[in-house]
Symmetry: C2
Subunit: 330 residues, 2 copies
């Protein structure tokens, strides 16, 4: 195969999945992608050991195709935060249950490559800016509706971190002062309505109250198996109840995005996560809510689009984080 000259390993440590791949430093599709469950309850040491095995595996595949580790410049890691980029330490991660763990250096030493660390949601947004739905954007805001609701801000091609690497935590924006309890301990966070599990929980609540829907059939009666993806599928099939859950999701998500538009006036909002499979059944009501809630001049200048790199934005963005640290640009 015709190999690009330089490569960067991208590592995406998510609340649910680990993804590792080798990303061409000049941009392009990742090579040798592999995924496995995070199983964070095994603890950080066990997860890091598996990440290292995955990296070693990717590099072995690369050598089998004629590549060599000598053309791999380093390794970018995306990991749930809050974290300290300078020391490469994960401070606390509600979604992993780790505290004060030096994830960057553990991985870097084990694979003998220089490494950079950033928040997984930030990496995903930078990945979309570099090679996905956010290409060419000046002010890009990204949301990932996954296990939680992650967010990130990219301004002029750089992740905006704020003064302590917390910036971009859109998921814990209060949109309903006395609303649903969030696992962060607060009430009415966007995440309490729009994360995958919370979209499913809201739908199941209605089903338990007897709402008529094809959803129970789709999960063979096991309501605990309903996910945001199941609801998206039902909505696409025209199920009225699933559509109402989508509209309610759009109501909260739209308020959160409108807040971000009024505050940051972005040109692009990218939304990732399984629920975006609902397509226009989500995006049409979302656009309507945003238009109602945000300044017209902000709405007019901003497109809301689904992510273009589902499954790989984190790996691509983690590699981009390393490249920016290493060379200063992308």
């Amino acid at each position: 195969m015709d190999l690009p000259e330089r490569w960067i390993v991208g590592v995406d440590i998510g609340g649910t999945n680990l993804v590792v791949g080798l990303v061409p430093a000049r941009g392009g599709n990742p090579f040798g992608l592999r995924t496995q469950r995070t199983l964070s309850a095994e603890g950080p040491e066990a997860v890091v050991a598996r990440v290292v095995d995955m990296v070693v595996g990717v590099l072995a595949d690369f050598e089998a195709e004629g590549g060599s580790k000598g053309v791999v410049d380093g390794l970018g890691i995306g990991c749930p935060g809050p974290l300290d980029r300078t020391s490469g330490v994960v401070v606390t991660t509600p979604n992993l249950g780790w505290t004060r763990f030096p994830v960057r250096d553990r991985i870097a030493e084990a694979v003998d490559l220089p490494a950079a660390l950033d928040n997984d949601a930030n990496c995903a947004v930078l990945g979309e800016w570099w090679q996905g739905a956010g290409k060419g954007s000046r002010v890009l805001v990204g949301l990932t509706l996954g296990t939680g609701v992650g967010g990130g801000i990219v301004i002029d091609g750089r992740i905006f971190h704020g003064v302590g690497d917390v910036a971009g935590e859109i998921g814990h924006m209060t949109v309903d002062l006395d609303g649903r309890p969030c696992k962060c301990g607060n009430l009415g966070c966007l995440e309490a309505y729009a994360s995958g599990p919370n979209i499913a929980a809201r739908a199941v609540e209605g089903l338990e109250f007897g709402a008529s829907s094809i959803l129970p059939d789709l999960v063979e009666g096991m309501l605990s198996d309903v996910t945001a993806e199941t609801i998206s599928r039902a909505a696409v099939q025209g199920d009225a109840y699933a559509l109402s859950v989508m509209r309610e999701t759009a109501e909260y998500l739209g308020a959160g995005i409108a807040n971000v538009m009024n505050l940051l006036n972005p040109d692009t909002v990218v939304i990732a996560g399984g629920v975006t499979q609902a397509g226009e059944h989500l995006f049409a009501p979302l656009q309507e809510v945003v238009r109602k809630r945000a300044f017209a001049s902000a709405v007019d200048r901003c497109r809301i689009v689904p992510a273009a790199l589902p499954g790989t934005a984190g790996v691509v963005g983690a590699a981009a984080v390393f490249k920016q640290q290493d060379t200063g640009g992308l």
Copy 2:
């Protein structure tokens, strides 16, 4: 008097008041400050004519003190938005009732000075960054609780505008999805709770329902005369009802500030407006709400402080906007 070498005229067109002064280009107290009511209902031409008179008056005072117009580099204008900085045009202003008015060039031509235009709330925040409570801040967010709730973001000493000059509109952030109607047409905006008139309206609602308070005495029975300042005075005097209005204000304002902290991770939040006269009766409950609602690592890195330049931040910041446009820095 010992005059600095170069000066800039600052013009602050607010929803309620016009303020004009001459600001030393190297920083320092404004000279010849004058204020009058905006009376926006007279229309933009009439307001501009009075602004021009005020500028001419300030320059005459300056010459009387030995200055000359030759050392005045230009003029900065702060005006409610949305506006278009490039063309110097006010697009629409809910608080003034103007549309598509070329405010910058009208003033510039009348006084024969080059001019720059920015949002009034942005100017106030830049003023606090340059010479007030935000000095040295890397990421500064400012809120003005006035006729409306204005907001601005200053990153590394520059106003952050977004892609269309809308950024910083914190006042119209949804904090309560189905909450109080806001004059923007939306429900549950921060402004619907925390602007001066809305703080007063919430207090008066309770008084009309028979709440016991010294407030009616402070306004000699005219409840329509209750303002946020009256409530602040009553709170400082220990009035339990006024204190409860303050705590409720802190609940909404705190949610808004927590949202901004999670999103932008600032090191400083500056709050301006008459209601800050309540001091710790506002700031103590506010700090408590913010700590409950925002990420600890964001709260730990951020101070919430009252504005240091009440009444002049807008003029100082408008001059700063001109200086940055003229010389590239401050």
